[in-house]
């Protein structure tokens, strides 16, 4: 069985309560960190090799070291718990089951960053999670882990929870900061980066729930032990939310480096494809990352087995690879219609674009409409190249990465499943039945890797 360091105690009854969490070694990282200097804590996180778990995989310690510590202004830590990416539901599980782990991580990290105030910005739809967190925060105050002079030290800290307004875009870190300030959640232009001018124009670090929670075991077990886990630059563990056509959908903590094949087929994790069907495709890191056909997700273009690491999943670039992203692992069996699936994603991004910049505001809707047309048997051959072109003109030309996130799924679906798009244009009568591939699986597509 793989090693669990975040979920080690998650199944202990009552672990959401302070006393039981504490009995199981909870808040030890705060005690340990307070005996270290702030710089030592940052150094430890740097050494651990921890990379941001929110999607981009940016090294957390490095991000912390960019924080403007010379500024006279207050510094803030903001936890990104907006989790709205289709396929990603790991942070919710962590906060719901073991809220004190996040709170402990917030306190330890804030001490390292010299932040007197921190915020957890929680997706608005997670109202019950907000109540769980608020109760846990109160317990932490009651037990002297929050508030003035924590454990008799000079370090004082206040932690607040802020419900989001219900928009995916507020998960983008600068839109999140705008929203937290009470404004419309439009992403900001960068630079300046939050580390220099973030919340209320003060130096700010924004980190994902899982990144902050991971600071707890890093401090407890030391960076050396932490980076013993994983492979190369992908150290430690990652929480994966697995969904789709598998026997055991759920939230799993895996050690980075696990082979993808083992993750999908072993009984410890996804338990194989349901109903005895064949695997068709996987979206490995939440809806924004490129989709890969079965052949390319189990093995890369060179024929080497793919591993659950940042590097291995990215092997082959966007021609034949993808990204670990936020860990939303979506599995599709042979009956899935890729065109329909792509249209569903496109509809999501069209709905969620903030509308600030023209390529994303206009292009996402355009792609959705063309995909709708193809999926409903009204497409033309030229539509396929039109989609590729529109996606290309959005990608890289927008203010925030939502534009890329909207373009990649479309571009990659056409790259790997062009035949299926063509099939829709050729046989409109067949695809007018929404269950078209469930009745007659289409697995005769060819994988074309033009590297």
């Amino acid at each position: 069985m793989g090693k669990h360091i975040l979920f080690e105690h998650i199944n202990i009854p009552g672990i959401e309560n302070f006393s039981i969490y504490r009995k199981n070694g909870g808040y030890a990282s705060v005690e340990k960190a307070l005996k270290m200097t702030a710089d030592q804590v940052i150094e430890e996180v740097k050494e651990s090799g921890l990379r941001g778990r929110g999607g981009a995989g940016f090294p957390t310690g490095l991000k912390w070291s960019f924080l403007d510590r010379k500024s006279e202004k207050p510094r803030y830590l903001v936890c990104n718990a907006d989790e709205s990416e289709p396929g990603t539901f790991k942070d919710r599980y962590l906060m719901e089951k073991i809220p004190h782990l996040l709170i402990e991580g917030m306190i330890t990290s804030s001490y390292a960053l010299g932040a007197k105030t921190s915020f957890i910005y929680v997706r608005g739809e997670y109202m019950y999670v907000i109540r769980i967190l608020e109760k846990a925060i109160q317990e932490a105050y009651d037990n002297g882990f929050l508030g003035k002079n924590i454990l008799g030290s000079d370090f004082s800290h206040d932690l607040y929870v802020q419900p989001g307004g219900g928009a995916y875009i507020c998960g983008e870190e600068t839109a999140l900061l705008e929203s937290l300030e009470g404004k419309r959640g439009n992403p900001r232009l960068k630079p300046p980066f939050p580390a220099i001018a973030g919340l209320y124009a003060c130096p700010t670090v924004v980190n994902n729930v899982e990144s902050i929670a991971a600071v707890v075991p890093i401090i407890n077990m030391t960076a050396d032990k932490y980076n013993d886990m994983g492979i190369g630059k992908s150290t430690g563990t990652k929480i994966i939310s697995a969904s789709g056509h598998i026997n055991k959908p759920g939230v799993y903590e895996i050690e980075l480096g696990l082979p993808v094949e083992e993750f999908i087929y072993s009984d410890e994790y996804c338990g194989g494809i349901w109903k005895g069907r064949k695997l068709k495709a996987v979206v490995a890191g939440g809806s924004s990352v490129p989709i890969l056909p079965a052949e390319l997700i189990l093995k890369n273009a060179k024929g080497e087995p793919r591993l659950m690491t940042y590097e291995s999943l990215a092997e082959g670039g966007f021609v034949s690879g993808t990204m670990l992203g936020s860990g939303g692992f979506i599995v599709m069996d042979e009956t899935t219609c890729i065109v329909r699936n792509t249209w569903t994603y496109a509809r999501f991004y069209h709905h969620e674009s903030c509308g600030q910049c023209s390529p994303c505001r206009e292009g996402t809707g355009w792609m959705e409409k063309v995909l709708h047309r193809i999926e409903h048997g009204n497409g033309r051959m030229e539509d396929i190249d039109l989609l590729v072109d529109v996606a290309k003109k959005i990608e890289g030309n927008t203010i925030c990465p939502l534009g890329d996130a909207a373009a990649w799924p479309v571009a990659s679906a056409i790259r790997h499943f062009r035949e299926e798009f063509e099939y829709h244009v050729r046989y409109p009568e067949k695809v007018k039945n929404p269950k078209h591939f469930e009745l007659e699986p289409m697995v005769s597509y060819q994988v074309s890797v033009n590297s």
């Binding site: 023209s358 390529p359 505001r361 030309n397």
Partner: protein, 336 residues
């Protein structure tokens, strides 16, 4: 000071200058177009993406290129930076894409739009757009609404540059959102109406690059190119009183602020000057207004060419082509 090269032309500018403003200091064709940036409106820019350029060399210290195209209106220069605008295929391709995006939901109702003839989107489309559209779906529409009793908001034409919201924001105390909803259903809200009592609210019309905000006292009176623009001023306690009168015969059809060659107003005018003095006798007329930009209006030969001025301008441009620093133009508006 920082030395930058834009499309092969080198210039030295103050630190913190944006690429766009550095290009404007050079002038000419290499200046990227701008639909949302407006130099006098704080925080404007970065949104429309027509000003995208390529940074082929980040700086002298760190010569690596910037991997993505950047919005020149919001990206500051660095010493030794090399920028490509017209010389980059990627930029032209991306810009063509942006123009297409701006047009797919635009009603293209230029024949009945008051802005036609002086519309930034029209000009941009002529220069960079494709001649046919690839978009065949129903276009987004909104109902027209009044912003106060003098301004009509025709949201269907809006390109969401946010300029008007910045005007409303910066004129009045307190923050106003100005934009409602999300994505391609975002709309300029009547919230900007909160700023309407302000003496300078009419400037929202002038900053609008398209025909989304129009002056109700002028709507449907005349095509702009049939009017005769004249520089004029009056003694005004609220503003500089420097305006352009758009006349037909003796009749003043419209009063606007003066726009420079990039379509920007440098001196905003008050509502009294804009709406309440439609009598030519209220004004001291200075002479014909020169329209610096390529537009339908400037095709009209309403202006008598001053040969003396023309000669000076030609000399100035020749000097410049010899590679000398561009001397200040003797007449801000002359163009050859």
């Amino acid at each position: 000071m920082a030395k930058v090269t834009i499309d092969g032309v080198e210039i030295e500018v103050a630190n913190g200058t944006t690429i766009l403003n550095a290009a404007r200091q050079i002038g000419g064709d290499l200046v990227p177009p701008a639909m949302c940036y407006y130099s006098s409106l704080k925080d404007s820019g970065g949104k429309c993406r027509v000003c995208l350029v390529k940074v082929a060399q980040g700086s002298a210290k760190d010569p690596r290129p910037i991997p993505k195209l950047v919005a020149s209106c919001r990206t500051p220069v660095a010493d030794g930076m090399v920028v490509e605008n017209l010389t980059s295929k990627d930029v032209l391709e991306a810009r063509k894409g942006v123009v297409e995006f701006l047009l797919i939901n635009h009603p293209l109702d230029c024949p009945v739009c008051d802005q036609a003839g002086e519309c930034d989107l029209q000009n941009l489309a002529y220069e960079h757009g494709a001649e046919a559209t690839r978009y065949e779906f129903e276009r987004r529409t909104f109902d027209k609404i009044d912003i106060g009793d003098k301004i009509k908001l025709h949201m269907t034409r809006c390109i969401l540059c946010y300029r008007c919201t910045f005007v409303a924001n910066q004129l009045t105390d307190g923050r106003s959102h100005g934009v409602l909803n999300r994505g391609d259903h975002s709309e300029i809200s009547t919230y900007i109406e909160k700023a309407i009592d302000n003496d300078f609210s009419g400037n929202m019309i002038d900053v609008c690059p398209v025909g989304a905000l129009t002056d109700k006292t002028f709507r449907f009176k005349s095509r702009v190119w049939f009017t005769n623009p004249k520089d004029a001023h009056r003694d005004c306690k609220k503003c500089s009183g420097k305006v352009v009168l758009w006349t037909k015969g003796e009749e003043v059809l419209r009063v606007t602020a003066r726009k420079d060659q990039y379509g920007e107003v440098k001196e905003f005018i008050c509502n009294e000057c804009r709406y309440d003095h439609k009598n030519i006798s209220d004004w001291i007329v200075e002479g014909p207004r020169h329209i610096d930009r390529d537009s339908v209006i400037s095709q009209n030969h309403y202006e008598k060419i001053d040969l003396q001025k023309l000669k000076k301008e030609v000399e100035r441009q020749l000097e410049f082509q010899k590679g000398k620093q561009l001397p200040e133009s003797t007449n801000g508006s002359m163009k050859v």
